[in-house]
Symmetry: D2
Subunit: 136 residues, 4 copies
């Protein structure tokens, strides 16, 4: 997977500007992994007998999944690169991942899917923040 994203970056026919390719590839991968984890965790929450205690977790997971999917797509496009769009979407993604990680951590001792999802969200948050810093 990591290899596949980097393969696509390396076959890009034009200049990528000064972007750090490793950080870019890592951020795209983390966005996709986080999108999947959040979708699966929200669904696992729906299957818990105490679902009524998990409604904020489900909603935050749905928001985070949508935002990660869009961020992965924006980061996968380089032609006509617009730093303003990329930066503001990365900010939104870091914010959503932080909220979702915080919420999932509240349930992590009880539910294994929340523990696993919190970890993916935290990794994605950090990858977004690192890419943001490297963009200057």
């Amino acid at each position: 997977m990591g290899t596949a994203v980097m393969d696509m970056i390396e076959t890009y026919p034009a200049d990528l500007g000064g972007v750090d390719r490793q950080k870019l590839a890592r951020c795209i991968e983390e966005c996709m992994a986080c999108m999947q984890a959040c979708t699966a965790c929200a669904d696992s929450c729906l299957s818990e007998s105490k679902v009524s205690e998990l409604v904020t977790c489900i909603r935050t997971g749905m928001d985070c999944a949508d935002i990660c999917a869009t961020t992965a797509a924006v980061l996968s496009r380089h032609t006509g690169y617009d730093a303003n769009i990329t930066r503001s979407q990365l900010q939104a993604c870091a914010t959503a991942c932080r909220s979702c990680a915080d919420e999932c951590e509240r349930h992590a001792s009880m539910y294994e899917h929340c523990r696993a999802c919190a970890e993916m969200c935290r990794r994605c948050q950090r990858a977004c923040e690192e890419l943001l810093r490297s963009l200057g």
Copy 2:
């Protein structure tokens, strides 16, 4: 369509907090209309004989469409409302719509689809900004 979004808001079974329902409904509608216009405009650009002059417009349109779709979804969820997620995604959407409107306006005298799309983007940008202001 406007009616349908407001219908769903009015059947929401819990409190919406202090949000302005008219501004919320309008912003969701504009995000959906803008998503569709950007997808259609990017595709129309692909059909123009001078497509090579329109690659930035196509890319910005694809980013804007994805960002608008995610923003419409985030705004359609009220349970476990997280003001940080909503605000940062609205910021990203206003930014993408402004970039896409600016880019489409450059081609508006030449291409009717760019003129129509620029108008939708500008309306969506304003609806996002107004909703942001009303959120405080």
Copy 3:
């Protein structure tokens, strides 16, 4: 909204083939309205005190919303038209809308948002089926 979709269709610079423009525009509009209604209904279900009775409805709504969003995007692209992709995605959309309408109807007497959502799903299902028939 209806007008906006038709505006974009009418500014398309190339031939649309034999497609029925009214049926195409209507189907795109219904897909977007259904996507929004399903997202909002799933979220309203999360706010009900008896959320545990609504988990199938929430899941079906999330699937239907995603599928409608993708179908609206596929239908908004005409360049390099591929009838196989369009037809199979329309089939998937009609199937999802039928399932979601059936599920929401089960709760329609109890929950106003399910009643409203069932109606949007049924309309979208019919619009997909009509467009499919007109494609031959």
Copy 4:
């Protein structure tokens, strides 16, 4: 990545029915990898000097990316599982991947990104077909 998807499947708190977990995880992973490859390939095509020869490839890539994203989300949800929705969306995904692989293969000798993307699409097509067969 493969591990992350399987982690989420293994923390699912309810019964998964008779589904083959390996085939399910593999199909979700391939859908995400294909979504990213198609988004990146369409963007790379936009950067080629002969972009006008690649408009069908760009459009098919955009359709395939959207359809793969939705399929990955549908497959990541198990609660209230609806075999009709899953099957029809998998059919649409296999169809889109086949079309996109065919189209990218036409340009594979000329463009490395089309060669890489064709390979991802073919793998995703097969993963969808295998999962469909295993669902019976």
